[in-house]
Every structure is written in C-alpha cells, then in structure tokens.
C-alpha cells in the first residue's frame, strides 16, 4: 500500500512496526504535494524543511519508545487560520500576507505532543468567510474528485488535501459548516465537536461564540483518534470546557442497537437535490438494518437559522477583525494621510470583498439604534433554536440528514449571489448556533461522480454516539 493512501492509524502502525519511518512518510507526502498541488492549490504554505526536521525528531522518539499513539510520525496539514510559531499564517488574506506568529495554537501543540509532523498551511476562504474556498486571496482550491468543481469551504484546502493524498489528515475550523461541508464535497470525514471541546487559543477568530476546531480524515477511526488528541481544557480559552470523556476512540464499535435516530422533515424539503436525498435515506436504512430506530419528525425553525447566524457571525467578525490595523502586523497601505486614513486604507486594500461585506453588516447590526432590532433579536432566536434541539434530543440520540443541499458546485458559480451561497449552509449552521457536535461522512456519489455527505448531529457532549453510529455505517457501507 502506498503511504499516501494510508490512514493515520495504518501509517503510525507501519512506522511502529518498522515497515517504514516517519521520514519516509513525510517525504512520500511531500513528493505527492510537489506532483499534485499545482493542479489543486490545497496549500498556501508548504514547510518542506521544517517537516523533514520534525519527522527525524519524531522518528528518534518513536524508536526510543517515548512516542507511541496513533498519530506518531503522521504528516498533517493545518488550516491557515491556526497560528504556528515561526510559520507564515495568512488566513488566506492579503492583510496577513507577511504574518509570522510568535506562538502556536493549543490544538496544534496537542497534535505535536502526539507526534504529528506539520506539512504546512492549507488554503481557505478568507478569514473562513465563504463556502467554496474561492474568496482566498491566494487563488481558489480545486476539488480533487473533479477539478472543475469547488472543494467547498471554508476549510476547502484541508478537505482537498486529504482527498488528494497531499496529507494523511488535516485540521479545519467550523463556524457554520466549514469542516462538514468541504468534507462532504470532497468525500472525506469531517467533525465539528461540541463548542468548548477544543481550545480556540491561537485560532484566528471569526465568530468566537461559534468557532470550533476539528479533524478532516479519511475514515471515522482517524476522526476519533485525531479528535481525541485535539481535545483539552485550556486556561487561555475562557470558553474551554474540562471534559473527562474525550477518549473518543473507545466509541469505535459496531453497535447502533436501539439507537434512536430522527430525520427532520425540514431537512428533506424544497431545495434538496434528489440524488442527495436518496443517498441520505439509503444511509439511514443501513443504520436501521443494523438495529437503529429511525423515524421522521419536525425540527422547526430551520429557516431562521441562516438569518440569525449571519447577524451573529457578522457582528462578532466586525469586532474580531478590528485588530487588523496595519500597525503591529500585517499589510499597511503605501499611501495615506494621517493615522485614521492609514487604518482605513490598509483595511480597505487588505480585506477582500466578502470580508468587507460581513464587517459592514456586523458594524451595522451592532450600531446604536439597530442593536436591539438585529443583534439582540438574533440572540433570542438562537435561544429558540437551541430549545428546538433540546426538544428533539429528548426524543432522539442522533439527528440525521444531508450536509448540504447539493454536491459541489462548479468553480465560479457561487460568488455572484451571496445570499444564494449562504442558503447552502442551511443544514449545518444551526449546529454551531446550538453548540452541538456534528459529523460528515461520505454516503455515495451523484450521477456526475461527485461525493455526497451524510450529516449526523448529536446533543452536546455526545460525540461518542456520533462516532459509534458513523463507524457502524462505515463498516456496513463498505
């Protein structure tokens, strides 16, 4: 088996058994990047020398027996909004074209402690704002399953890198579906954990109350192993939660006997592609045959999630992105008249169209006179959406549905109408508002050969149920 076709668990086992080494592994993946990335543009930065140096160090530790675990010696790709000390971190924005962080994100440190070898930083929608990876200042990423199509977004580079074998697994972030949707479009597994499970320290903030870091992997086993390594309680993230149940790999069992699964009728209605619907319902049947109890129900409030989300996310973004002022780091305009004009010009030249659109909207909904009508109203609707999920989880262990209404659109078809693009987030976005965990796993392909994703949503802290159901489906589907 080629190294680039292996999962993380397979590769770490092969290294431990001496069949290959961490150095051979990283060289194989770097060669693949060299070969393929001109086509797909998964990476903004590839750290060749750094990766080989890390691999040598990790290999020595593996041989000394001080590093074991399923990620030891395995090459990983990181979304370019995760700070990495000494390694360029751009958020795919011109405004951070030269930003070299002085510290590393806690989630990345957790991976490094587990023996991960960092390959580089993957392309994304600028500041994670977008659903196609086309808003990147460094060119779009193409979908390895069909390069005429987008990989999804905003973690499009991470999902595409996994699909193209340009890494063994990748890390992304999910504010409204940005891990699950590209995973679905690229035919890989992606998971957004319960809010607070993975430290956001060192994740460049977009919508702080919604952002979570999570894995993009080739299978459910890797997903559980990576999430287990990423999770930790961190004093430097005040929303970080101390959990004692993050041994996610213990849930890798084939057992859905009696598991109550609800499919919202609202997730199968207008706008859903017929082939996607069929694939999702077929997946539900697989789980039913294995002993799960599947029924339909009305979740309600589904149409209100997108307007509530864009109000809250834009508001938080307008505040979070104030820090980019051309002084302490990042882009500064060449010509300006005085300090305030310098701020304005640096920001106007440094940010792309979609980012400016959301900063403007966010500034407006937070402004005096509109705050109650828009921002507070959205926070109240968020409370109602959370309540609707609470009621659903009183009846069901898992909510099952599609990840996105369609398979991956063609490049250049999405950005002309922002609201149309936002509507593509309809099945993923409420999960972030309610802080829930959600997983996306491949469940077939459409007539054009493009992957379809199955989404399963759990109640807060119920990742293990999701992993168990996803693993059972994966075993049954093969």
């Amino acid at each position: 088996m080629n190294i680039t076709d292996m999962t993380a668990v397979q590769l770490s086992a092969a290294i431990k058994e001496g069949k290959t080494t961490a150095v051979e592994a990283v060289e194989a993946v770097l060669a693949r990047i060299e070969e393929e990335d001109k086509k797909y543009n998964c990476y903004v930065t590839v750290d060749r020398e750094g990766a080989v140096a890390q691999a040598k160090k990790v290999q020595a530790q593996i041989e000394a027996g001080t590093l074991q675990g399923p990620l030891a010696g395995v090459p990983v790709a990181l979304k370019d909004n995760l700070c990495t000390e000494g390694l360029l971190t751009t958020c795919s924005s011109k405004i951070l074209y030269n930003f070299v962080p002085t510290y590393t994100a806690e989630a990345v440190k957790n991976l490094t402690r587990a023996g991960a070898v960092i390959l580089g930083k993957t392309n994304m929608d600028e500041f994670a704002m977008g659903s196609t990876t086309e808003t990147s200042a460094y060119g779009p990423t193409r979908n390895p399953r069909n390069p005429e199509h987008v990989p999804g977004g905003s973690s499009g580079g991470s999902a595409a890198a996994v699909a193209a074998g340009e890494c063994i697994y990748a890390i992304g972030s999910d504010t409204g579906g940005s891990i699950r949707q590209p995973a679905s479009y690229c035919g890989v597994v992606g998971m957004k954990p319960t809010y607070g499970t993975v430290s956001r320290y060192g994740l460049i903030a977009y919508g702080s109350s919604l952002d979570q870091i999570g894995p993009l992997t080739k299978d459910v086993t890797d997903c559980a192993a990576v999430l287990e390594a990423l999770s930790s309680h961190d004093e430097r993230d005040s929303t970080s939660i101390a959990r004692d149940d993050t041994d996610f790999t213990s849930a890798l069992t084939e057992d859905v006997e009696g598991l109550r699964i609800g499919i919202p009728n609202d997730y199968l209605g207008e706008g859903l592609d017929a082939e996607v619907k069929e694939a999702v319902l077929r997946a539900a049947e697989v789980l039913e045959k294995k002993g799960a109890l599947v029924e339909r129900f009305d979740l309600s409030l589904v149409d209100y999630a997108i307007p509530a989300y864009y109000t809250i996310a834009a508001a938080e973004a307008s505040s979070n992105l104030e820090r980019f002022d051309g002084i302490k780091y990042g882009y500064r305009a060449k010509e300006y008249a005085g300090l305030h004009n310098m701020y304005k010009k640096s920001r106007s030249e440094g940010f792309g169209e979609e980012v400016k659109r959301r900063i403007m909207l966010g500034s407006f909904v937070l402004s005096s006179g509109y705050y109650d009508a828009y921002y507070l109203k959205a926070l109240k609707v968020k409370a109602l959406i959370k309540k609707a999920f609470d009621e659903a989880f009183a009846k069901y262990d898992i909510i099952l549905g599609p990840v996105a209404p369609t398979t991956a659109p063609k490049l250049g078809e999405s950005l002309t109408d922002p609201i149309q693009m936002y509507l593509g987030d309809i099945y993923t976005i409420a999960v972030n508002l309610a802080g829930l965990p959600g997983i996306s796993i491949p469940c077939g392909q459409d007539g054009k050969g493009l992957p379809i994703g199955l989404q399963m949503i759990g109640d807060c802290f119920q990742e293990k149920k999701l992993i168990r159901a996803a693993y059972t489906y994966e075993q049954g589907a093969v």
Partner: protein, 96 residues
C-alpha cells in the same frame, strides 16, 4: 427591497467599520446590505418577547486567575511582524 440604505448610513457604517469604499463599492454595499437586511427581517416573524437573548449555549462565567506573568520577553519577535519599528516601538503616522 424593503430596506433602503441611504448614503449617510453607508458613510456612517464605513466610519464604524474603518473601511474606505470607492463610489462603486458604496453602491454595491448599499444594495448588498439592503438585501441582507431584508432577509434578516425574517426573524421578525418570531415572537421573542419572553425570550432571553443567548450569547453562549453553556452557562459560562468569567474565568479568573492570579495576576502572575507567565510569558517571557517577546519584544523582538513581536516587533519583527511590524511594517515599521524604531527603538523597540511600533511606528505610526503623526497623530497631531
């Protein structure tokens, strides 16, 4: 379009957002924001009179710690990201 964004509003939002838009961008922003607000107005269909706004899904409280310095002196590294620095300080345009 129900929400008409005036020139004054776009100017004001530009000040809040610290963005300088060209005339063409302003027109685009007026239309984009109007459409988006029309869409967001859908939230008005829901009665939220008795609902508490929810900023976080979990009951989060302030997290306190002792005020002890734990990080080292990183002045050189931090300044190395600045476009302009002088004598250990960030350089900004004249403010007076």
């Amino acid at each position: 379009m129900a929400n008409i964004i005036s020139d004054e509003t776009i100017e004001y939002v530009g000040i809040l957002a610290k963005l300088e838009l060209s005339e063409e961008e302003k027109e685009q922003a007026k239309s984009d924001m109007g459409r988006m607000l029309d869409y967001i107005d859908k939230l008005g269909e829901l009665d939220t009179a008795d609902v508490e706004p929810m900023s976080h899904v979990f009951p989060v409280q302030n997290v306190f710690r002792e005020d002890v310095v734990t990080n080292g002196d990183e002045r050189e590294q931090l300044l190395s990201n600045a476009i302009q620095e002088k004598d250990g300080m960030f350089v900004v345009p004249r403010t007076f």
